[in-house]
Amino acid sequence: MDDLIKYAPDLLAGFLKNVQLSAVCAVLSLILGTVLVSMRVSPTPVLRAAGTAYVNIVRNTPLTLVLAFSALGLSDTLDVTFSDDPGSNSFWLVVLGLSLYTATFVCEALRSGINTVPMGQAEAARAIGLTFLQSLTMIILPQAFRAVIAPLGSVIIAMIKNTTVAIAAGYLAESAFVMKDTFDDTGVSIPIFLGIVVAFMIITLPIGFLTGWLANRLAVAR
């Protein structure tokens, strides 16, 4: 317990990095996932094929490899850099890798949501003269989103926990790395383990409850 109290400031600073990563990645992966699902249901065969290929490749690649590719492949080999500061650069490499990865799960959750929207909704939208993009954004996706709020909550919770493998992209500031670093000084400390678990649960449990509640509240009556 003393170890937990002694190292709490460092661990908390690390955990705040997890929170920062989570916040940025959640926004980006929701946006990118929506773009991907729009491609997958679009009437243009090339867009559909590109969306399908992207989802199947990235979703089936282990996250640590996606992150390692961001750091070693993109940054070191291809010289894609976000910042001259190494810490900041690797932060954004994690954001890139984790968002690209999580977006595939957001896409597939939304696609199952689209399947819950009756065919007649899209037909009625087209019949009053809305274009494909208008029907998608005004009629189909709003209903699809409401149908998959709870599964999207699970996707976001998984993403938050996935921030703890950020070291695979060379990011050395988040709590899981700080924890291992601390163990080098203190030896393995159960209280520190549990402290970090509790910290994550303080974030993820409310997300689970909130999305469950919203799913009921916003459900579309048919």
Binding site: P118, G120, E123, A124, R126, I128, G129, L130, T131, A221
Partner: protein
């Protein structure tokens, strides 16, 4: 039928063919719909009535032949097709009101997003139309809170809000409880009296007799018989039509 003096027909179908896989659902359909005409399409299930109706605003594509709307071939896709659809109202068997939007939003969405009408103006007109179909008091509700008959009247108001050149009705009363059929038919009869061009797929003989200018009988993907309602119901010429009528009129 052409009271407004414009003699060019609104819809002309020539040699229209359509397959669903191996099923030949439309066989060499030739049909002309004049401006202001109310055309009732009648016939057994699976005879191609709905497909014909849906082909006119290209919710179904066709394999052969041509469809002219207002003198021009139907656009195949994109903005031009969206514009055509905005000029052709459609009322579905299952209403298809936008489930996540209020009744008023259902009626104003098209004018605002497709026509670019100002919101306040669209809402004023939307309320007028809802009053006209007798749903004004329900404007703030959601579709699931309304009865089937009310939903279908909203769907008619939604189609009217686009000021369409014609309205297609695809079995508009088939999904309704019997006591709600008349309220929808009354609205449709009102539209017919006001001179709206209508194509109505229906089994409602009463509506056909009271409002239709012409009845088309379809079976096995073909137009078997065309006549005035009175002639058709009392004096059908073909055996196929007589057989069909004997089954639905004897009860």
């Amino acid at each position: 039928m052409t009271e407004n003096g414009d003699a060019t027909p609104l819809v002309v179908l020539e040699g229209v063919d359509k397959h669903f896989g191996s099923l030949h659902v439309l066989r060499d359909i030739n049909l002309t719909i004049s401006r202001g005409e109310v055309l009732v399409v009648i016939g057994p299930s699976g005879g191609g009535k709905s497909t014909l109706c849906r082909a006119i605003n290209r919710l179904e594509s066709i394999d052969g032949g041509t469809i002219l709307f207002d003198g021009r071939p139907l656009p195949e896709e994109g903005k031009a097709l969206a514009r055509l659809r905005s000029e052709v109202g459609m009322v579905f068997q299952s209403f298809n009101l936008f489930a996540h939007k209020t009744i008023l939003e259902n009626v104003t969405l098209g004018p605002i997003k497709v026509r670019g009408v100002a919101k306040a103006q669209a809402e004023q007109r939307g309320m007028e139309l809802l009053e006209r179909v007798g749903i004004g008091a329900q404007a703030a509700k959601y579709p699931a809170q309304l009865s089937g008959g009310q939903q279908q009247r909203v769907a008619i108001a939604r189609a009217l809000a686009m000021d369409p050149k014609m309205i297609l009705f695809d079995e508009p009363t088939s999904a309704l409880d019997p006591e709600m059929v008349q309220e929808v038919l009354d609205v449709m009869i009102g539209l017919a009296r006001d001179g709206m061009t209508m194509m109505v797929v229906t089994h409602e003989m009463g509506f056909a007799r009271r409002a239709a200018n012409r009845v088309v009988f379809m079976a096995e993907g073909q137009i078997v018989e065309e006549n005035t309602p009175d002639e058709f119901f009392t004096n059908a010429r073909t055996d196929r039509a007589k057989d069909f009528l004997s089954k639905i009129l004897t009860h």
